[in-house]
């Protein structure tokens, strides 16, 4: 199948280096300490953060740092074909772990010893790049909860199809069988905290694809910063100072 046509357009009409439209909203779950919705094209996820709070399971308590936990779940209606999947299948356990490790790397856990932070991400619509969208949503939710972080973590995926590096794969491109590189970075510190790739790719091209994904992450970071700034301004306005 042709994923990039001769005019240089992809299946959904984007250019190879173009990202899908992103949209973010803070404060979707009012009962949570922090929450956010993040959309990348048709992919839509919601994240909620509870904590820092008392550790629920005493045996997991750590005296020198906070315990970070994460649960990823997909809604029944999130995919094209309806399916019933029990919570905690292998794929969601793996993604939960990936998100947990990525967020743990940026949270200043040593400032909150003997406490626990729960991150819950729920996929409402899946159209490729759920992993990245979840990490971006989790970052926003953590920031909304006021949890101290080294930097924002942002994530974006990139692939390589028809000898062209493509930014931000959708479901059709993701299931094409080509490589899918998911990168998570700390944009200000310029450090990579997450890197995952499946399928095979020549070494010199990996550099290009990774570079592209990193650029995507930086663009998302700019957007997230704007949203946070806007939110803070609103909070300030409501406080009346």
């Amino acid at each position: 199948m042709e994923y990039v046509n001769p005019e240089g357009l992809r299946v959904d009409g984007r250019r190879p280096m173009e990202m899908r439209q992103i949209r973010a909203e803070i404060g979707a779950v009012s009962k949570a300490d922090g929450s956010a919705i993040f959309e990348m094209g048709n992919t839509k996820v919601i994240a909620a953060v509870y904590g820092p709070r008392e550790v629920q399971n005493r045996s997991q308590q750590m005296s020198d740092q906070a315990l970070v936990r994460c649960e990823y779940s997909m809604a029944n209606f999130s995919t094209g074909d309806r399916m019933r999947k029990p919570k905690g299948d292998r794929r969601s356990t793996e993604i939960s772990l990936v998100i947990r490790q990525t967020m743990e790397a940026c949270i200043l856990t040593h400032l909150m010893p003997r406490s626990q932070i729960d991150i819950y991400v729920q996929v409402l619509q899946a159209d490729g790049g759920t992993r990245s969208a979840c990490i971006n949503a989790a970052t926003l939710a953590l920031a909304d909860a006021g949890i101290p972080m080294r930097d924002l973590v942002t994530s974006c995926s990139a692939g390589y199809l028809n000898s062209t590096p493509l930014l931000d794969l959708n479901y059709v491109e993701d299931s094409a069988g080509g490589p899918d590189v998911t990168v998570g970075i700390l944009p200000k510190l310029d450090k990579v905290t997450l890197l995952q790739m499946d399928s095979k790719l020549p070494v010199d091209i990996l550099e290009n694809v990774m570079q592209l994904a990193t650029e995507g992450c930086k663009a998302i970071a700019n957007y997230i910063r704007e949203i946070l700034l806007e939110n803070t301004k609103q909070l300030e306005y409501r406080r009346g100072s």
């Binding site: 979707a28 009962k31 949570a32 929450s35 909620a48 509870y50 209606f77 309806r82």
Partner: protein, 286 residues
Amino acid sequence: MVGLSLGEQFFIQGGIAQDLRCDGRKRLSYRPIYVQTGVIPQANGSAKVRIGDTEVIASVKAELGKPSLMQPDKGKVSIHIDCSSTAEPAFEGRGADWLSADLSNALQRCLLGAKSGAGAGIDCSSLVVVQGKICWDLYIDGLVVSSDGNLLDALGAAIKAALSNTGIPKVQIAAGASSDEKPEVEVSDEEFLQFDTSGVPVIVTLTKVGKHYIVDATSEEESQMSSAVSISINRQGYICGVTKRGGMGLDPSVILDMVSVAKLVSEQLINKLDSEIASAEAEDES
């Protein structure tokens, strides 16, 4: 879980006794209701309903299937509810299974009627394509995103809104197929049939706190309840289902009184919901 001090508990109970609740409402008034339709593009119909801080999403997916042998002239409808752990940390892992099952069963009882399909709020016979051979199976999925009490009413409203947002594709049956084999069908992707939702009931949950009962309880108020009765009522004023959940026993006369109160409340709720759904649909189309 809601952790309330003794003082807070008395405050809630005292407020309800004096017909002035913590958020300024009267005993029989709802929190503001917002409806948004078409939130899940992949589904045939979907809606998001927000009542106060409670937020739920319902989606309807239609798939072609075979009617059951017992009821060859009816389509199948199933309701499944999930509670997202975003709503409450206690829902993590398998923590919400009992609540999901409880809500799914209550909704099934309230909306789908008896096992025979009699008295269902959803007209299952309109889902048949070829009698005994092909019918539409409706899968109704609900998701609790944020929970602040009164989940059942919110889910009932969301399902009603999602059903009125649902378009079922028109089906053409290929001519010339013999009667005993499975007929060939062609599903149109342009023409859709709207679903008749005028008969879909709304659910009113009356929560008894002390001597009085209230509608649309928040989770703080629910923690103080002695018992709760959910009554589903349609536009004609008929009762489509009654569920008593949890708590202590009730005097039969109190239940009858609750039913008549619920009937009064449901009229306002139906009108409010219908106007919200209509404006959401208008916004969705524009």
